[in-house]
């Protein structure tokens, strides 16, 4: 499956980010290169358990999550959380949240549906926030990459309605977020 993903990405000229960084000399980096456990992991898991509970009378054993720190405005520390499982995914993709830490808990800054990995944070900005590239595929939509641009108050939450990104934009300066589809189980 990994090889087929690489082949598919290759069709869209998605270059390995390290090559892009070297060839373009981009010095910008997002705040994390790997999803590593942090002191806030327990608080994050508790927040997600509380907010993604849904109908508590119907057991959910499939939800998983993986998070990575990111600062899309280059100032505010945030967490980008990719949520998968039968409850949060469909033929069009899965769900992601952009969270901001508030005290010992978190606040949802933005929710995204129809999310497919990888998510790429571009060096370009709109209204002071990094542009974000995502893949749209399935659910009747042909496979293509789109760019989500901050409009001053939020990003578009539905990638299927976002404008397609050109190969040049996609291959330009930016970095894939370190998120994997496996993640950690949200419930015991």
């Amino acid at each position: 499956m990994f090889q087929s993903l690489i082949d598919w990405l290759g069709e869209f000229m998605w270059r390995p980010p390290m090559i892009v960084v070297i060839s373009l000399g981009c010095s910008w980096q997002i705040s994390a290169c790997a999803a590593v456990p942090s002191a806030g992991d327990a608080a994050l898991k508790a927040f997600l358990q509380e907010n993604l509970r849904g109908n508590p009378q119907i057991e959910d054993r499939t939800t998983r999550f993986v998070a990575t720190p990111v600062s899309l405005d280059d100032t505010t520390p945030m967490e980008l959380v990719y949520v998968s499982g039968q409850r949060w995914c469909g033929s069009g993709g899965c769900t992601a949240y952009l969270l901001k830490q508030e005290g010992s808990s978190f606040k949802v800054t933005q929710k995204f549906t129809l999310v497919r990995l990888p998510i790429r944070v571009l060096c370009s900005k709109s209204n002071g926030w990094r542009d974000v590239a995502m893949w749209v595929r399935g659910g009747g939509s042909s496979g293509h990459a789109v760019v989500l641009r901050f409009n001053g108050s939020r990003y578009p939450s539905n990638p299927s309605l976002a404008p397609a990104v050109t190969s040049a934009e996609l291959a330009g300066c930016g970095q894939d977020l370190a998120l994997s589809g496996a993640g950690e189980s949200l419930y015991p």
Partner: protein
């Protein structure tokens, strides 16, 4: 990533193999099971939905996950592909009734 005619997400459904997802009879049965499960979840969670709204919500949930259905009849499809996935599927169903 969605696989096969029924676009079964193998990551979200680890009990399904790629070969099974591309096997149309298997995938059709599996997808029907998911739709039935989603419909039961939505019916229990949002008893205010009419049968038509429940059908639309079930179709939409197949696209972006049952957890993303808000229960508000006015915004059932918001967040789905094109923001109209459920209503689009329901509309297409009428094509098969003739």
């Amino acid at each position: 990533m969605g696989a096969g005619v029924f676009q079964i997400d193998l990551g979200a459904n680890p009990n399904v193999t790629a070969a099974q997802a591309f096997n149309v009879p298997f995938a059709a049965n599996y997808a029907a099971g998911m739709l039935a499960s989603n419909s039961a979840y939505l019916g229990a969670t949002f008893p205010n939905l009419t049968s038509a709204q429940l059908l639309q919500a079930t179709a939409a949930s197949y696209n972006f996950g049952v957890g993303n259905i808000s229960g508000n009849p006015a915004t059932i499809d918001v967040g789905s592909t094109g923001n109209n996935y459920g209503s689009n599927v329901v509309g297409l169903m009428s094509c098969f009734n003739h």
